[in-house]
């Protein structure tokens, strides 16, 4: 089994799994019906993409793991998602900013990944682009509505920007496995997406009358398996059924 490719794909798909899990926590708890439905639909898209990646990864493992093992039976240190996506649904402002910060990156990533030498990854990316374009449209719209809305909505979403900005730099960090995937023409060099990313993000924030905090220090660690405290709680929810009833099936 090619461990490096295996890890590279998990580096992408753990983000969609964990963000999908966070969004699905909103099912029945959204601020109103439309946003509730939107967030859970986006969760469904992300979990669908995750399944495609995990099914492929399971195939690469040559029978050593299944799609469900990969999703439910790893320990916290084995998840490779970035810190941003595991941050909690503090309020709707946080949900939207976390989504927006990820969507912009996600779309740029998939647009490159569709040219991957790996046919399966290219196909998953092509399919995902269509879906993620809608996600970005949704989150950008809400960033503008809340930022340029009332004083309360502005302050709340500005707080989310101030708080979550420190997690954006990790998007462009490459692990050793990422680097070897780039060299073999399979992976995307995410460090090259940085300038386009900040250009798009800054444009939308500006239109939303929001300001970008000046930070010298950014947080990272998730890609290497070092997560924030929130991750353990998230996983205990996510893994509950498989841990309590091992090997249970629907």
């Amino acid at each position: 089994m090619d461990n490096s490719l295996y890890n590279y794909i998990l580096g992408i798909s753990d983000n969609t799994l964990i963000l999908g899990q966070r969004l699905s926590e909103l099912c029945g708890h959204g601020p109103n019906l439309e946003t509730d439905i939107a967030c859970t639909n986006i969760a469904l898209d992300l979990l669908g993409q995750t399944r495609s990646y995990y099914q492929y990864v399971a195939k690469l493992s040559e029978g050593q793991s299944t799609e469900d093992d990969i999703a439910f039976l790893r320990t916290e240190r084995e998840y490779k998602n970035i810190l941003l996506v595991e941050q909690p649904n503090t309020n709707f402002g946080y949900v939207i900013i976390r989504q927006f910060f990820y969507d912009v990156f996600h779309l740029l990533l998939l647009r490159e990944l569709q040219n991957s030498k790996d046919e399966t990854l290219a196909a998953i990316a092509k399919k995902g682009i269509k879906e993620v374009s809608y996600h970005q449209r949704f989150s950008s719209d809400w960033v503008k509505r809340l930022g340029d809305g009332t004083k309360t909505s502005h302050n709340k979403i500005q707080e989310a920007v101030d708080d979550l900005w420190k997690f954006t730099d990790e998007l462009f960090y490459l692990t050793e496995d990422d680097k070897s995937a780039v060299i073999s023409g399979i992976g995307v060099d995410v460090s090259l997406l940085k300038s386009s990313y900040y250009q798009i993000v800054e444009e939308v924030l500006q239109e939303a009358t929001l300001t970008i905090p000046e930070l010298k220090w950014f947080r990272k660690g998730g890609k290497e398996g070092i997560h924030s405290e929130h991750m353990g709680y998230l996983l205990s929810d996510l893994q509950y059924m498989q841990r309590t009833y091992p090997n249970m099936k629907w």
Partner: protein, 167 residues
């Protein structure tokens, strides 16, 4: 970009495949939906390849099971697999399928440019499937499923789903 794609479907299998419907849009057969990309008999086993409309579409597992069951009724073994490439587009919905959508109360997808105008610029061009008025308004970009947006008709005041263009 137009993707020319040959659907390799053996003619004798069509009548069985047409019996299977999308569980979320029961008026639409999977053939009219354009999700069947391949169906052939190989060594006595029917091999079917379907493609999801959206990655997370929960209907796909059900459709796969239904195909196997429907062939089993005729004592034929079927095997269903999922293909992702080329990605499904709303262009693959047949004219018959579009009519069935409208009759069911779901507005059929517009062309890509018009779709953007309707969803992004709030242009009044989506036709209400109840009264055919175009005096309609988007309420939510996402409807009851990811593939639809929620609209409201300001003529007859009924809400309805619009099947978003996917290309």
């Amino acid at each position: 970009m137009k993707i020319e794609l040959e659907q390799h479907i053996a003619p004798q299998l069509i009548s069985v495949l047409e019996k299977i419907h999308d569980p979320e849009i029961p008026v639409l057969s999977i053939m009219d939906m354009g999700v069947v990309r391949f169906a052939q008999i190989v060594d006595g086993i029917v091999q079917v390849k379907i493609t999801p409309t959206y990655s997370g579409c929960p209907a796909m597992d059900v459709v796969g099971d239904d195909i196997v069951k429907e062939f089993k009724k005729q004592d034929i073994e079927a095997n269903v697999s999922l293909v992702l490439s080329p990605a499904w587009t709303t262009d693959w919905i047949t004219p018959k399928g579009r009519k069935a959508l409208e009759a069911y109360g779901i507005a059929a997808p517009l062309e890509e440019i018009l779709d953007k105008e309707a969803l992004l610029e709030n242009k009044k061009i989506v036709k209400c499937p109840q009264c055919t008025s175009t005096n309609t308004k988007m309420i939510s970009q996402f409807g009851s499923t990811a593939c639809k947006a929620l609209f409201k008709c300001e003529n007859c005041l009924e809400p309805f789903d619009y099947f978003k263009c996917l290309k």
